[in-house]
């Protein structure tokens, strides 16, 4: 059984004047112990998707329809207590900016205990404290006692991110959501953090959804990748296949345009800007920027087709003669 399954999820944001049609029918799946990547430009809706899974969308955000199945139970229909329990004990999230994810006026100890208190109800204070110390040790921070007594500003960026990971681990019983866990970190520190996350996920038998716009990070860390563009999942494939032979034009362009260390070949960039969510383009949302766009792309939204045993893509170029699949390829 899938650990987490998102089916046909639509999310809107509302401001006073406008409605932003952000998530436009997302379907994705995470198996136990699987590491899944989510790539796409900023503003593609990646963070919104993670927040919808945890149901921590801001008040303007609204889930229009769809299902978020956690171990087979739809979180959107489940009662509040169950959802709360999933947040506390099932899913942990690493937030993007380690500086703003930690409250600057409290000691690390207090912030960590606050999280632990919810995830481990019924534990005594001293038990919680030793749990906290153990967590800090597990993220390879030297001198846990001292770290616990410090304030966030006394730690370096890399150390803060380790603390944030420790906090996420406290509530990650089964699934870790990592939202750009290494943005703003130096490449050397990024490498250390990624190795740490990888080790912890494997050791604890967790699943992970890793969101990043740094493609290399996703390539290195995951088993399977989803490409997201403007609130749609446009391609899904096992990681090596996606990066070495991408199918969807957007994925292709994305990969071509990363400045690589292996060659002096630069892509042409992707023309235009991401779409305005107030008035998303009809048909395929990528068509205004797509070099291969034809008439049908402007009118009909492409459905997902299964192009091989473990790949699916939402693009008219591949849809001919293939059958529409709604759910996940591997599930069929």
């Amino acid at each position: 059984m899938n650990l987490l399954e998102v089916r046909d999820l639509y999310v809107k944001y509302r401001s006073y004047w406008y409605t932003y049609h952000v998530l436009d029918g997302i379907t994705l799946r995470v198996s136990p112990r699987e590491k899944v990547g989510l790539i796409g430009e900023s503003g593609a809706g990646k963070t919104t998707l993670l927040k919808s899974i945890l149901q921590i969308l801001p008040p303007q955000g609204r889930i229009v329809r769809g299902e978020v199945l956690w171990k087979g139970v739809d979180l959107l229909k489940a009662d509040k207590g169950y959802v709360m329990n999933v947040r506390r004990k099932g899913i942990g999230m690493i937030f993007q900016d380690p500086l703003s994810a930690l409250n600057p006026v409290f000691k690390i100890k207090d912030q960590l205990l606050e999280v632990l208190r919810y995830s481990y109800d019924g534990y005594s204070k001293s038990e919680l404290l030793s749990l906290a110390e153990e967590l800090i040790r597990s993220v390879l921070l030297p001198d846990p006692a001292r770290v616990l007594e410090s304030y966030p500003f006394q730690l370096s960026g890399g150390m803060r991110q380790r603390v944030v990971i420790a906090m996420a681990l406290a509530s990650a019983g089964d699934l870790l959501l990592a939202d750009e866990p290494t943005t703003n970190l130096d490449v050397t520190i990024q490498d250390q953090i990624l190795r740490l996350i990888d080790r912890l996920v494997i050791e604890r038998g967790l699943s992970m959804i890793l969101v990043s716009h740094a493609l290399g990070v996703v390539a290195k860390m995951t088993h399977r990748v989803y490409t997201m563009y403007a609130g749609n999942i446009v391609e899904e494939a096992p990681t090596p296949k996606l990066f070495n032979e991408p199918l969807h034009p957007y994925t292709k362009l994305l990969i071509e345009n990363v400045p690589r260390i292996s060659s002096r070949r630069l892509g042409e960039g992707i023309k235009g800007n991401p779409p305005d969510y107030r008035y998303p383009p009809p048909g395929c949302r990528f068509h205004p920027r797509c070099p291969y766009a034809v008439d049908i792309c402007k009118k009909v939204k492409p459905f997902c087709v299964k192009v091989s045993r473990d790949r699916r893509v939402a693009c008219h170029m591949y849809s001919e003669g293939l059958e529409k699949v709604d759910g996940d390829v591997n599930a069929n």
Partner: protein, 318 residues
């Protein structure tokens, strides 16, 4: 152009030796990349060249003239010749001004001329950088990240500089915009023969647009080489660590990565830098001598390849 430059900052916790004796020079029309982790002193170096800080010690010369003076006191011709493009165009462009205001401000300072002439120049620039005309009346907040950075570039180009400092020009941009900006940078260099000093920690960017690379660590230069040589034969353990930390995306990328040196530790504070070789605290090959004495500059491989590391001290010293 930069000789034994030192820049120290006085702070309540001690003297921060941000840049501690670095020497390098640049040729006309080349791109020199300064790479290293944050805290290695690369941005400080750039800001001293710009005159945002004055050097504590050492000399910064440009075309033979000492330019170790604050930017406010520099003659106008000098300000015209050296320009800078900052990391985040969202903050380097005034959010309240339109693109036209921003470009006009630059033009008014240097190229006197009628309103019409300035407008023509603006349109020419926008055209050259592939920005549509109607952006002229937009504010930066209405533009995409890549477009904003192109506007920042247009502002720098408006005064016809010979030398542009690029301070992390693409790290705030999305992938789709990065390569456009980088391509534009290369095109400008071809057309106008400007020199670039590229400050970045993205080795992919370095590989793609620079001719020469200087690797800095904690205020010192560890390695200096032609770009291709550095990527095919990195010598300094720190360079190797940097390179092996880059996550490989495809099979080709993996081939380029050198012997893997696992990244460990963090860059120490520049207030009390470690004695000897500053990298010894994180270096897997650290020897006794590394802790005591600073490594000499050695020539290894190609003549332009200089490395400061005891591992190569048996080779020709420079």
């Amino acid at each position: 152009m930069v000789e034994d430059l030192k820049k120290y900052f006085r702070t309540p916790r001690g003297i921060v030796k941000a840049v501690d004796g670095i020497t390098f020079s640049m040729d006309l029309g080349e791109t020199l990349a300064l790479v290293g982790e944050s805290g290695s002193g690369k941005t400080t170096t750039a800001h001293v060249i710009m005159g945002f800080y004055t050097p504590t010690e050492g000399l910064v010369t440009y075309k033979g003239i000492d330019i170790g003076i604050p930017v406010e006191k520099r003659p106008l011709w000098l300000k015209r010749e050296i320009q800078i493009v900052f990391q985040d165009p969202a903050t380097s462009l005034n959010p309240k001004n339109t693109v036209k205001d921003i470009l006009d401000a630059a033009l008014r300072v240097h190229a006197s001329g009628t309103k019409l002439e300035r407008l023509n120049k603006m349109l020419e620039l926008m055209n050259y950088l592939g920005l549509p005309e109607e952006h002229l009346f937009k504010r930066p907040t209405e533009l995409g990240g890549g477009e904003k950075q192109l506007v920042a570039l247009a502002r720098a180009l408006a005064v016809d500089p010979d030398f542009i400092i690029l301070d992390e020009p693409t790290s705030a941009l999305d992938v789709s915009a990065q390569s456009k900006v980088l391509k534009t940078l290369s095109r400008i260099q071809r057309d106008r023969r400007v020199s670039y000093l590229l400050i970045t920690h993205d080795l992919g960017v370095v590989r793609n647009i620079s001719n020469r690379v200087i690797v800095m660590y904690l205020g010192k230069i560890c390695e200096e080489s032609e770009t291709d040589e550095l990527f095919s034969k990195p010598l300094h353990p720190y360079t190797q660590m940097l390179l092996s930390s880059v996550p490989a995306m495809t099979k080709e990328d993996e081939k380029v990565l050198p012997v893997r040196i696992e990244s460990r530790g963090e860059i120490p504070s520049a207030i009390n830098p470690p004695p000897g070789c500053r990298f010894h605290t994180r270096c897997p090959f650290a020897m006794e001598i590394c802790r005591r004495e600073e490594p000499p500059a050695c020539n290894a491989g190609a003549s332009s390849h200089v490395v400061r590391c005891w591992l190569y001290s048996s080779r020709t010293r420079v």
